[in-house]
Amino acid sequence: MELQIKNVSKTYGKTKKALDDFSLTLTPGVYGLLGANGAGKSTLMNILTDNLAADSGEILWNGENIRRLGKKYRSDIGYMPQQQGLYDNFTANRFLWYMSALKGLQKKDAKKQIPELLEIVNLENEAHKKLGDYSGGMKQRILIAQAMLGNPRILILDEPTAGLDPRERIRIRSFISEIAADRIVILVTHVVSDIECIADRVILMKDGRLIKDGTSVELISSVSDKVFEYKCSKNELESLQKKYICGNILQRKDGMVFRVVSNKCPERFHKCESDLSLEEVYLYYFEYSED
């Protein structure tokens, strides 16, 4: 099982390059896609979900071009879009049956899977409630459920935990980890803690290009000598923020900690030894490197 993205480029209009010779090979596991707004994540997802054609390059699913596979390829993917509107007068049950029909599922398979998925996303008691009456979190969960219909081998999840309370977030994260063993899960989110928890590999995108990929540990260690911190008082914060662009402020028992990401250790700062997270990786690659 292999999804190969080979030299894919996409330009909007005449100049706006959304993807620039992007290449990546994905095998079963959870992939966290990180990038600033406009980095090309949505374009990549639209191409992967067969919603958009690339200008050049190709995407191979088990060695075959997805454009040629068409319907066959689409029956292998499950997609959960972000900020999704739903049919207000559909019940969750009907919506899942509708998606089963669109995914070309057999009736017996749909009949087996739908209750299971409703239970997984904790909506079994709300199955006959209209989607228009669902809260934001419930809508997210039903969208995850529909993405899982038909046991897709590729799962593309765009901000899956947005709008969920911590309990549901943990529940969904665990679920994603569980199902990732025999499929490719692409997770696009700005909640770096989600990626940190469940992603086997993190892919960093910038200006339509792949700038770094690796495990969370590898990426964090790659910036371990780039993060510096300084214990300060509240009064000092303003002047520090003016001086250093990339800051992360942490509240500790013994006061405030002001963190900067830099190649050189600034005066009065010292190297940060612990508590490093993907946030620092994000800041280093997407904010600092511009300077």
């Binding site: 919603n51 029909a101 070309g104 006959h128």
Partner: protein, 796 residues
């Protein structure tokens, strides 16, 4: 001011609005120009035709009368007309029988009638002139000057006429409306005493201010404006944000209303202004300073205004009427959240107003809904040209005053309703008690179950999710109502009754027995006629003779006339037998008219079918865009071609349902009323369908049914394509309505465009060409929408 600026900016930046605005404006101008220019190719003669085909002779004919008094002009026009009539008669006579004594004797009789005119005619007869045209032209000019003559009498005699009327007891009732109205009329016309109408070419104003299709286009623009102004924020979920801001309530609503009024004014200037300019280019601009009464349509006008002032007033009254309608739309958009409800209430109000305007006679005692009516106000030419006083507590109030009051009052009411609804009405949908109850029941009794058929889900979306079942229920009620309705066969005269009594007796295939009956009846009437002549010839008839004579006279005027019609029908059927080899069948055309040749019925069914399908199918694609579902659907295995096909399949299914609820009930109604159908009879037994040859009534009914079914399906496919092309429910509703309305206007104005008329006239080629053109248009629309739907380049 800033808010208004931003509202205007939003509209101007809305490419779709601008595109549709331009399309509607272009459509209006093209249809206006086409209609005017088509006068040149029309049958017979009209002022427009002569002007457009031979401007020089039209102008020179008019110029001949410059400086003449009305009396002299009338005399001269009559003289000219007689001369050209004589020329025409001579030419006709010569062309009918160009040799022999008959022609000479006819010419002699013409000479005897009027020697001078005859001699003059003979001297110009060889000129290459269309004498019939000249005849019409001078007759027309004569009428113009005759009108000027009578106008003077009409105005100056007003007082005397009033006095004479007041002498009648029905008008002479102290302080009653009739008396007050007569007195007021005299007073009002005092203003224009001494007005002298001028003869001239006023085609510019007559046509430039009288084109209904432009009104339809402008009404569409107003609806479109409301969609853009009031629905944009609602559709994009921005309304809560807007309403949470400091100026987000009354101020925003006011800004929107002012923008609506501004754009209404712009539309009036653009649509009607251009129409006037085009009219001026086609017909030429006349002297605009002459009194408006120079146009004969304005004979009753009591305003002392010139043609130029009339044009300005016409534009202003159009603007006022359209502002009322625009604000009415705005109020409806504010009051209702549901797209369907907004459409139904807006269109329903307009249809109701139009029905009141058309069906309530202007001279009835309950005529107020005819005059205090949006369509009367919109018909600015009639509003300004006619003199009308309405009865308000016995006081006659002029319609122009009423119009002004209505404008101020209705504009204020609708603005307040719209502003309050916008700022106060919750935009968050509330859950109804019924839906909560249904949900509870579902939770209790329904298990997780469903279907994996895309088509069935799409059908559910149309009929249940978007409440299409309500429309189908309404159609079902209509179907039941039609099925049980009694068909009243109306007879116009005694002869008519007699004819149909015979037809009842003879209906069906002609047998020997029936033939014998016809011969017996013929003998009977022959004898009766002989008896009649004998009795008439008697010098001293007895009382008994006189009674008998009167009886026979009655029979000959009634029953015999009916029999004669039967005989001519019999002759016609025999001709058909010889021509087509068909058997002779007597068919009662009045009974069969509801089934075979009902023009009004078929138009009504077209309108109902169109409206139902627009409402049911209109949201079929746009829902996916509104709900932002497209990417999710397209990423699924069946989310591209199959879903597209399922959606069109659903549209076709809805078309079939609508057809079944609209057309077969007419057949059921017929069978319920008359029990049998002469299915084997040739349809050409009905004279109107003579060109159908040997086709039987059954085949014709089936063909009509098939055509109705195809028509329903084409409408469904058309609306479905529009839904994908516009990607917006409101725009689909609006554009589909406008396009089908234009088709309806074309059909209702031209009976030759009906299927059975074309078939009845044997114009199969025209029919096939029309069908092919429509099919190609629909096919192109489907292909374009498929490309758009399955296209890989999605908008960012």
């Amino acid at each position: 001011m800033k808010l208004i600026f931003y509202e205007i900016l939003k509209l101007l930046k809305n490419k779709f609005f601008i595109f549709l605005f331009i399309c509607l404006a272009a459509g209006s101008i093209i249809s206006f120009s086409w209609t005017q220019l088509s006068f040149a190719g029309s049958n017979g003669y009209s002022e427009e035709k002569i002007f457009l085909s031979d401007k020089d002779s039209y102008n020179s004919a008019l110029n001949e009368f410059d400086g003449l008094s009305a009396e002299k002009a009338v005399a001269k026009a009559d003289e000219k007309k007689e001369l050209y009539e004589m020329c025409k008669m001579i030419i006709d006579e010569m062309s009918i029988d160009d040799t022999g004594a008959d022609t000479q004797s006819a010419l002699d009789s013409f000479r005897q009638q009027d020697k001078a005119t005859f001699d003059k005619a003979m001297s110009i007869i060889n000129e290459n002139t269309d004498f019939e045209k000249k005849c019409f032209l001078y007759d027309y000019i004569g009428k113009k000057y005759r009108y000027i003559q009578t106008y003077d009498i009409f105005i100056n005699e007003m007082e005397n006429r009033a006095e004479r009327q007041l002498e009648f007891s029905i008008f002479k009732d102290n302080d009653a409306f009739s008396e007050n109205n007569i007195k007021k009329t005299v007073q009002d016309y005092e203003n224009i005493k001494g007005t002298v109408p001028q003869a001239g070419n006023f085609l510019f104003a007559e046509h430039g201010t009288n084109f209904f299709l432009t009104d339809v286009m402008v009404l569409s623009v107003l609806f479109l404006l409301c969609v853009c102004l009031f629905m944009q924020e609602r559709d994009k979920g921005l309304l809560l944000l807007v309403k949470s801001s400091r100026n987000g309530h009354i101020r925003t609503a006011s800004a929107k209303l002012i923008t609506l009024v501004i754009f209404t004014a712009v539309s009036v200037v653009l649509f009607y202004g251009t129409e006037l300019v085009v009219s001026g280019i086609i017909y030429g601009f006349p002297d605009m300073n002459v009194p408006v009464q120079s146009m004969s349509d304005f004979m009753d006008c009591s305003l002392k205004i010139s043609v130029a002032e009339y044009i300005v007033l016409w534009l202003l009254s159009k603007l006022a009427a359209l502002v009322i309608i625009a604000l009415l739309f705005a109020a409806v958009f504010g009051l209702f959240r549901s797209t369907v409800l907004i459409w139904l209430v807006s269109i329903g109000t307009l249809v109701l107003e139009y029905a009141l305007y058309i069906f309530i006679p202007a001279n009835s005692s309950f005529c107020h809904p005819h005059f205090i009516n949006l369509f009367y106000f919109l018909d600015s030419k009639t509003l300004l040209a006619d003199y009308e006083n309405l009865n308000f507590f016995s006081k006659p109030i002029n319609i122009l005053v009423i119009f002004l009051v209505c404008f101020l009052l209705l504009s204020a009411i609708f603005s307040v309703i719209s502003a309050i609804a916008f700022s106060r009405k919750s935009q968050i949908p509330s859950k109804s008690i019924v839906s909560s109850l249904i949900e509870k029941l579902q939770r209790r009794f329904f298990r997780i179950n469903g279907t994996v058929s895309v088509f069935r889900h799409e059908l559910y979306k149309r009929l249940i999710h978007d409440k299409g079942f309500i429309i189908l229920a309404a159609l079902l009620i209509f179907a039941v109502q039609v099925s049980v309705q009694t068909i009243d066969v109306k007879y116009d005269s005694l002869q008519d009754v007699s004819y149909y009594v015979y037809l009842e007796r003879l209906e069906g295939k002609l047998t020997d027995e029936k033939e014998q009956f016809i011969q017996d009846e013929q003998k009977y009437f022959d004898n009766l006629q002989n008896e009649f002549f004998e009795l008439q010839a008697k010098e001293n008839p007895s009382e008994e003779d006189k009674n008998r004579l009167s009886n026979i006279d009655n029979i000959l005027k009634g029953k015999y006339q009916g029999f004669q019609k039967i005989m001519s029908k019999y002759e016609y059927l025999k001709e058909q037998k010889e021509k087509n080899g068909t058997e002779i069948w007597f068919v009662n055309e009045k009974k069969y008219s509801t089934l075979l040749t009902d023009r009004d019925g078929s138009t009504l069914r077209f309108v109902i079918c169109g409206a139902a399908l627009i409402l049911i199918v209109g949201n079929i694609f746009s829902i996916e865009y509104k709900r932002n579902m497209k990417r999710l659907l397209r990423s699924s295995a069946n989310g591209k071609k199959r879903l597209f096909a399922a959606k069109f399949g659903t549209a076709l299914f809805c078309g079939t349902l609508s057809f079944l609820l609209i057309y077969p009930p007419v057949l059921i109604q017929y069978l319920a009323n008359f029990k049998t159908i002469l299915i084997d009879a040739p349809v050409s037994s009905i004279q109107e369908l003579s060109a159908c040859g040997g086709m039987t009534i059954l085949t014709f009914i089936l063909l009509l049914g098939l055509i109705h079914l195809i028509m329903s399906e084409l409408i469904a496919l058309f609306v479905c394509s529009m839904s994908e092309l516009t990607r917006n429910y409101f725009l689909t509703l609006m554009l589909s309505t406008v396009i089908l309305l234009v088709v309806y206007i074309l059909i209702s104005g031209n009976p030759e465009l009906r299927f059975y008329t074309i078939l009845g006239m044997g114009r199969i080629t025209a029919f096939v060409t029309g069908a092919v053109v429509i099919s190609v248009i629909i096919a192109v629309l489907i292909i374009v929408s498929k490309r758009r739907y399955t296209n890989d380049s999605i908008r960012r």
